[in-house]
């Protein structure tokens, strides 16, 4: 059978060997006791902190906020919590992984518990759990997720957006343009005689051309434009708040720049050209797919007219209308 004093000894030894800090304050927030964990981590002398205000001993604490928080514990007699996800730490304490994490202070989950005793005085126990590990791994997970999300949007070869992300962007831009009654234009772009290039120089040369052309086009765009790889050698550019004339000008600039560029493959100079189809979202289009269809028609037109040129859907419609 345990005696009262044995129980006390057991309790105090457990309290002092816990890997959790605790600190008890009275209703004026003066420290009345703490455990070894906190003594060791703060490197302060217990005798010099007892009776002192928690805000004097830990000047880093947000005083106004914590006072209100502690008041709720006293007044409602309910526990209160503070997670590292909201506040990385309350107490500036060192932690046990200073070498293998980049965290300066111990990440903490803090719990504030109301403590009642025989006397009328009320106390609050502040539990401080070291969650530096959790915080560190969560950070790494977050980073990995962001990388994955980025990878799922990017075309591996050309490093521009892939078809899926590009199409999602078009759907969004379409919705925006309709909501705010703004212009929206689209350029579809296709490399001329790409199959021939692959046949003559090999697929590695074809890959190099796709990479170089992507980089060249990217350098000609505004930040708000969305450039993506639509299919094999077909690319597409979304131009928000741009009317047909502006899109045609850009298309012409891209066409000329690519024709003028000399690409180098194993010491040989490679010349490539592109054909472009340009369309502006018409008022009666009810789906963004219609814009793709229009730009596609214009692209076929540019191909039919001998390649290395830009055609607009305006022309295509009037053309097909005349034909009809």
């Amino acid at each position: 059978m345990l005696t009262e004093s044995m129980l006390k000894q057991i309790n105090s030894q457990i309290a002092n060997q816990l890997n959790t800090g605790f600190l008890v304050v009275d209703d004026e927030f003066n420290i009345v006791m703490w455990n070894r964990f906190l003594q060791v981590h703060t490197d302060k002398d217990t005798a010099r902190i007892i009776g002192q205000s928690i805000f004097t001993i830990f000047p880093e604490l947000p005083e106004r906020w914590l006072t209100r928080k502690l008041t709720s514990v006293l007044q409602l007699n309910t526990p209160s919590f503070c997670s590292w996800q909201q506040r990385h730490h309350l107490f500036e304490l060192p932690h046990t992984r200073p070498i293998t994490t980049d965290s300066e202070f111990m990440a903490q989950n803090c719990t504030f518990l109301p403590i009642e005793t025989d006397c009328a005085q009320k106390y609050i126990c502040i539990l401080i759990e070291d969650v530096t590990d959790v915080c560190h791994y969560q950070g790494q997970l977050q980073k990995t997720l962001e990388e994955l999300a980025q990878m799922s949007r990017i075309d591996g070869l050309t490093q521009i957006y892939n078809r899926r992300h590009w199409q999602e962007s078009l759907a969004q831009e379409y919705a925006k343009s309709r909501r705010h009654n703004k212009k929206l234009s689209l350029i579809m772009l296709d490399l001329d005689h790409f199959k021939l290039l692959n046949d003559n120089y090999g697929h590695q040369c074809g890959d190099m051309v796709l990479i170089e052309i992507s980089a060249l086009v990217t350098s000609l765009l505004r930040v708000e434009d969305t450039f993506g790889r639509y299919g094999g050698e077909e690319f597409a550019i979304i131009l928000p708040e741009t009317h047909l004339t502006g899109a045609m000008e850009l298309g012409q600039r891209i066409c000329t720049s690519i024709a003028a560029a000399s690409l180098n493959y194993n010491g040989e100079v490679i010349k490539v050209t592109v054909s472009l189809g340009v369309a502006e979202l018409s008022d009666d289009a009810s789906r963004y797919e219609e814009l793709i269809t229009q730009a596609d028609l214009a692209l076929y037109q540019a191909k039919a007219e001998g390649r290395n040129k830009v055609c607009s859907a305006d022309f295509v419609t009037s053309f097909s209308r005349t034909k009809a």
Binding site: P62, R64, W65, R68, K69, S72, Q75, L76, N77, T78, P79, S80, F81, S83, Q85, Q86, R87, N109, T111
Partner: protein
Amino acid sequence: MSEFHLTEDQQDCLQELINIAMGQASDQLARYLDTFVYLKVPSIESVDAKGLIQTLSQQQNTMAVVSQGFFGYEGIRGEALLSYQEEDSGRIADLLGYEPDELSQDEQLMDISSILTTTFLNVFARQIDNQMSYNAPKLLPMVQNSLLDHLQQMTFNWDVALKININYQVTDYSFNCDMILLIPETAILNIKNVLDRILADL
């Protein structure tokens, strides 16, 4: 009628205990928050996992749901879900007596949730000679419909839960939220035992 359903007497008894707890809780909250807190007559019912998903997904514009686990003696345990609408949560910092820049929106939601849950359950526990402990409140992940996705992905390991829904209103701060206490099946049996004991003592 499954073993997890409450008899009419048990239901009445629980309703009465909750009514008393609500009265005391709203009084305490009013004094702490320095404004009137209205709690609407609660609804008590049994739900299955599917029904719960439906209830939660029917609430339009749900901006956030905070979950907090509770556990007491005699196997009384469960989870409290507090759900907030966009338009009802603009002044929580103000209501809690903080400066708006002192804490993030997420922290405001968790703070008020914890206060509402623990105040009510502490009083309720006292009614049944019990004492509750609580987990730290957690914000359930939700972007647009993802709470629904989140719930649908979960394979619940319970079929029936006792669901107690209490609505909180603080008109001075145009604050409004729903507290849904969910008590899973084994804990229902435990609470039925407690109710039977109270009924026998009457």
